[in-house]
Amino acid sequence: MYPKGLQRRNVLRMAAQGFGAVALESMLQRELGAKPRSNPLAAKAPHFPAKAKSVIFLFMVGAPGQMDTFDPKPGLARYAGKPLPESFGKISSQFTSGDTPILPSPWEFKRYGQSGLPVSSLYPHLSKCVDDICFVRNFYTESVVHAPAMYQVQSGRILMGYPSMGSWVTYGLGSESENLPAYVVMPQPEGTPEGGTPMWSSGFLPAIHQGTTLRGGPNPVLNLKLPEGMTPQRQRRTLDFLQKMNDLDTEETDTEMAARISSYELAFRMQSHAPEAVDFTKESDATRKLYGLDQKPTQEFGARCLLARRLVERGVRFVQLFSGGGPVSIQWDAHKDLKQNHEKMCGLTDQPIAALLQDLKSRGLLDSTLVIWGSEFGRLPMSQSGNGRDHNPHGFTMWFAGGGVKGGQAIGDTDDFGLYGVGDRYHMRDFHSTILHALGLDQHKLWYLHNGRHEKLTDFGGKVIEKVFA
């Protein structure tokens, strides 16, 4: 009754009992010839040649203070305990109303590297890398509340659920890896950022572009591990059987069904490759030490940074790490006790981030990997709860390294208080267009037609911060 006439290909298949499906796969590939199996994530050429091939985005959840990290404001000391000058008007943040006194940074800044760029004492390790870093000090964003501001950094909108940057990038460039997800997300183990999973959603882009969360250990990707009681042999046989039946179900011309058959093989390959990717046993002691895997505070974030390098090495296009999430004590959201908070959070991340930059560089991967450090906004120069700071969307720092970025420079500035960006301020859409540019993607050509609109990451279009690459 089915199928009426056995197709040649199917006969071939049936004769191939005992063949692994992988062999079948390659046979099929050859046979289809002109019509190779559609891989919707196949690597695509960028719009123009570019250095950066992949991205590692280090997202500091809850917002570090720019005047406490990379944007020194020595003038604040003179105003300690005094109100912000009246000329600023009323500065309303999420919890404060601008009437609290100025809080100078508790940390000292020194100049580092050949470039002599200033970094606060919070970053003893990262300060050694300033010559590879390009700081942009006058970003601004639209919301003073975490979740909408996070959505804006991630997707360009203050609304939830628009396609995230990583989704746009894999939509534009596909993946270099056949065996791993193209867009990998690694949240803080203690919890998720305020914006939750919509921060890495593919929105209206096909689900294949969604961020995949990945963790260390035996089950790095959801449902990757063999179910309890299942053996690899049994699963392989089940899969072979399934693929043979799927092949019976599939007309030769049906690319969608063929893609479905491929997806099972990719899943199977991922089962062996993903655990290998997260397995550090072959990393040298020196490398482990570099990332701080030998010390309690840096162990966790260090492992994720090392993982990021291993993923990029294996062709993963976009890796996103979140430092912070869940309970307030494990976020950068220092509404009170800024000193304790930032020292803790920097203690967790400083060495690993520096290690990542150094390691990428020594392996020759930094040129092709754009590393981004940033957050949803910055913090106010005024205090909250006496020794903390409220949110500041008006002017804050993010930085870039690798991927064609010219290091050892700081672009833009904030006012003497670190409150507002001055001069050419950069919106999140500028941030996005700059990142796309680094990858060889033209923000205006990277669109998707949805409900009658040419939707883009940068919506109305941003300005590429050319100086970053100069």
């Binding site: 049936m14 919707p40 999420q94 919890f95 509340v145 979740a147 909408p148 939830m160 659920g161 628009y162 183990p189 919890g191 998720t192 914006g195 939750g196 999973t197 919509p198 959603s201 929105g203 209206f204 096909p206 689900a207 294949i208 572009h209 969604q210 990707v221 959801l222 449902n223 591990k225 063999l226 179910p227 309890e228 699963q235 046989r237 089940t238 899969l239 059987f241 399934l242 799927n246 019976l248 179900d249 049906d254 069904m257 479905r260 997806s263 099972y264 899943a267 199977f268 309970p327 004590s329 909250q384 709860s385 006496g386 903390g388 949805h450 409900n451 009658g452 609109r453 040419h454 109305f460």
Partner: protein, 716 residues
């Protein structure tokens, strides 16, 4: 009325100059096909095609040198139509009865039986909920559950099941409160206007911006879901492609200017009080547990406070020590700062507990959560809208920014269709009624076309207009305008009866074609725009899960009620955002048969997407989704092979086979094919199965493979 007119004289005057500008902008584009009232074309007379749908299609096919494909087999036909109409596979008995029924109207009887099933509304409901981006939660960081939103979901399902006409359906959703005051159903229907995301968070809020977002959501969904027009493009500027000036977005928004969300009780005061008392009594039951936890925490908390005090500025502490009533405002501020600085967060306290104390604490909390499962249902209320007591103005906003107000605009309709000088109510009440009446008037050129196109898309996989939410110039042109116009007029003439048009499509010859590829025809029409064959379609994640439950026998087909939480993977649980304690974020229903409910009844939480759904392109409930994308990737395979849901279902399926066949292999093979694919295996397949079942392979492995087959997850 007169007073209203006087009050609104000023904006209308401004509007006069504006409309001149707008009229120039619209210009000749007024003549685009979308804006012309459909006129009923005469169906071509073609021998053998009595259904006008076929006559139009075949006429177009012939003109291209194409023709229909052969009819699909009866076995596949019942599988196709059952999946299409109910979202579930046919049972073996249903297949057998249909195949055996040689009467000439066997198929018609089948369609009528399926359309009479309660699953009809569930199937349609899912489509409609996609359009209105329905979810059970607010979205954003807190993403709180909307306790009463589900009544709208049930309203939609019932509307399709009860044969509610489309004009009434629209009127209730836009203006049920105004048009049928006192009618609970009509009130619940207005949940349509509140189905989108809403940012609700503490702290200083820009209320005007939040309100603007709420209004944008109402305006956009009306444009996309009902008008099939991309009104949202005109939020910031005149539409780039369509004759929709920016003012139109705000004229439409002004229709909702007085509309506010509200939870409106559906039961009398007495019953409300009873529920409130029950809630209080329940809360009392939790108190002892809370007290015990507090007692455990207290010494550790105090110790932390003492430690922290040591590090606090003495000036602050001094202010803190002054009694409340004696503090100056400055001391008050300092005292608050001191308090903030000395107060540890919950996790600081928990981290300070010794392991055994911590275990005890969580054991008590666990008991508390168990008691909490008996939380009484709140009294019934509608997640609905009402009109505000005070009128609100609407301005055009420069690039959509509420801080840059431009001209004041009156409430009104798209100028490309309606003369802006035409009267439109400007009072507190009646604006939405007027919009609903205009949308459902027979003179409206858009509404009927948009809806018949949606019915078409549901049955044929692609719309006659491929962009079902965009009938504008950037959208697709109809592949067969005569057909869509005929359907639109017929739809209105049949009293906006959705089911009647739906039935017409299902009974067409076109619907019953095979989906087999044909190289010669594909050369002429590779995209199958003219429907020379049926389109194979992958089932949605919801239908895949429901089908699996049906095959394993676990499906609980109970209808309606609050969104159900089903077990989620620990990795997904971890991704639920909270700054608080994480031990009770996803309480499962006490009655475990609930977790086998149909997917449309599962709690749809905006920030927690279920992998089984999300991986199969379930829309994210953020923007209106007219047609789901179909992506194919490895995470789907991992979910369908390895998830605990699949493991459990394949075991249940295996048990079912053993039970029903007393473990006899031949019977089990037949039964498994009948259950999953609605047919018997071919000789080749049977041989393959027997071969496979040798060795250490388990029956459940086989069942898992069957549930993963292409043929199982595709509509034939």
């Amino acid at each position: 009325m007169r007073r209203n007119l006087l009050l609104l004289a000023a904006p209308l005057l401004i509007a006069a100059t504006l409309t001149e500008r707008d009229a120039a902008f619209i210009g000749k584009r007024r003549s685009y096909w979308t804006f012309q009232k459909p006129v009923r074309p005469e169906p071509p007379k073609l021998a053998g095609f009595s259904n006008p749908v076929d006559a139009f299609l075949v006429e177009a096919l012939y003109s291209k040198g194409l023709s229909y494909s052969a009819p699909i087999s009866k076995e596949k036909l019942i599988r196709r139509v059952t999946l299409d109409v109910t979202g579930l596979p046919p049972t073996p008995a249903e297949v057998e009865a249909f195949v055996k029924d040689k009467s000439p109207n066997a198929y018609e009887k089948l369609v009528d039986r399926l359309m009479a099933s309660k699953h009809y509304g569930e199937r349609w409901g899912l489509r409609w909920l996609d359009l209105v981006r329905y979810a059970d939660t607010n979205g954003f960081e807190l993403d709180a559950e909307r306790t009463h939103a589900w009544r709208y979901r049930d309203y939609v399902i019932n509307a399709f099941n009860s044969g509610k006409t489309y004009d009434r359906f629209i009127q209730e959703q836009l203006a049920g409160d105004e048009m049928w005051p006192g009618d609970n159903d009509a009130l619940i229907a207005t949940g349509f206007l509140r189905a989108g995301q809403e940012h609700i968070v503490g702290g200083n809020q820009d209320e005007e911006m939040n309100r603007q977002e709420v209004l944008t959501e109402m305006t956009t969904v009306t444009g996309s879901a009902l008008l099939g027009m991309t009104i949202q493009c005109a939020r910031c500027h005149n539409h780039k492609f369509d004759p929709i000036p920016q003012s139109d977005h705000y004229r439409l928004q002004a229709v909702f200017a007085n509309t506010v969300g509200d939870e409106l009780a559906l039961v009398p005061k007495q019953a409300q009080q009873t529920s409130l008392d029950a809630a209080k009594a329940h809360d009392k039951k939790l108190q002892p547990f809370k007290a015990q936890v507090k007692e455990i925490d207290e010494p550790y908390r105090l110790k932390l406070v003492e430690e922290r005090k040591k590090g606090i500025d003495p000036a602050l502490l001094a202010a803190f020590d002054i009694p409340n009533e004696k503090r100056t405002p400055e001391q008050e501020r300092l005292a608050k700062e001191a308090k903030d600085q000395m107060t540890p967060a919950w996790d600081d306290v928990v981290a300070a507990l010794p392991a055994d104390v911590k275990a005890k604490r969580y054991a008590i909390r666990k008991q508390m959560h168990e008691v909490d499962l008996d939380e009484p249902e709140p009294f019934a209320a509608a997640y609905a809208v009402a009109n505000a007591k005070k009128p609100a103005d609407t301005h055009i906003l420069k690039v959509g920014d509420h801080k840059s107000k431009l001209d004041l605009v009156p409430a009104g309709l798209p100028q490309v269709i309606v003369d802006p000088a035409a009267e439109f109510p400007q009072g507190l009440s009646g604006r939405r009624t007027a919009l609903a009446q205009w949308l459902t008037s027979k003179d409206n050129p858009v509404t009927a076309r948009v809806m018949v196109n949606r019915i078409w898309q549901l049955r044929f996989g692609t719309g006659i207009v491929a962009t079902a939410n965009d009938f504008g110039t950037l959208g697709a042109r109809p592949t067969n305008q005569k057909l869509i116009d005929w359907l639109a007029v017929e739809f209105m003439d049949r009293g906006w009866d959705i089911r009647s048009i739906d039935r017409l499509l299902l009974l067409s010859v076109a619907y019953r074609q095979s989906s087999t590829y044909d190289e010669a025809k594909a050369k002429i029409d590779g995209d199958n725009k003219f429907y020379w064959r049926a389109n194979k379609r992958r089932l949605e994640g919801e239908a895949i899960r429901d089908s699996i439950l049906a095959v394993s026998g676990a499906l609980n087909s109970k209808m309606g009620g609050r969104g159900v939480k089903i077990p989620i993977e620990p990795e997904i649980y971890e991704l639920i955002f909270t700054e608080g304690e994480t031990d009770n974020l996803w309480p499962l229903p006490v009655d475990r048969t609930e977790i086998n409910r149909r997917s449309i009844y599962l709690l749809n939480k905006r920030s927690v997407r279920l992998p089984m759904m999300a991986n199969f392109d379930q829309p994210d409930t953020i923007t209106s989704c007219a047609m789901r994308s179909t992506s194919t990737h490895a995470l789907q395979a991992l979910t369908l092979m390895n998830s605990s849901f699949m493991q459990e279902q394949s075991k249940l399926f295996a048990q079912r086979l053993e039970r029903e066949c007393n473990g006899k292999q031949a019977c089990m093979i037949d039964a498994s094919y009948r259950l999953t694919l609605g047919r018997l295996p071919s000789a080749v397949e049977r041989k393959m199965v027997i071969e496979f079942s040798k060795g250490e392979q388990k029956l459940s492995d086989y069942c898992l493979a069957m549930l993963n087959r292409n043929e199982f997850v595709y509509v034939p």
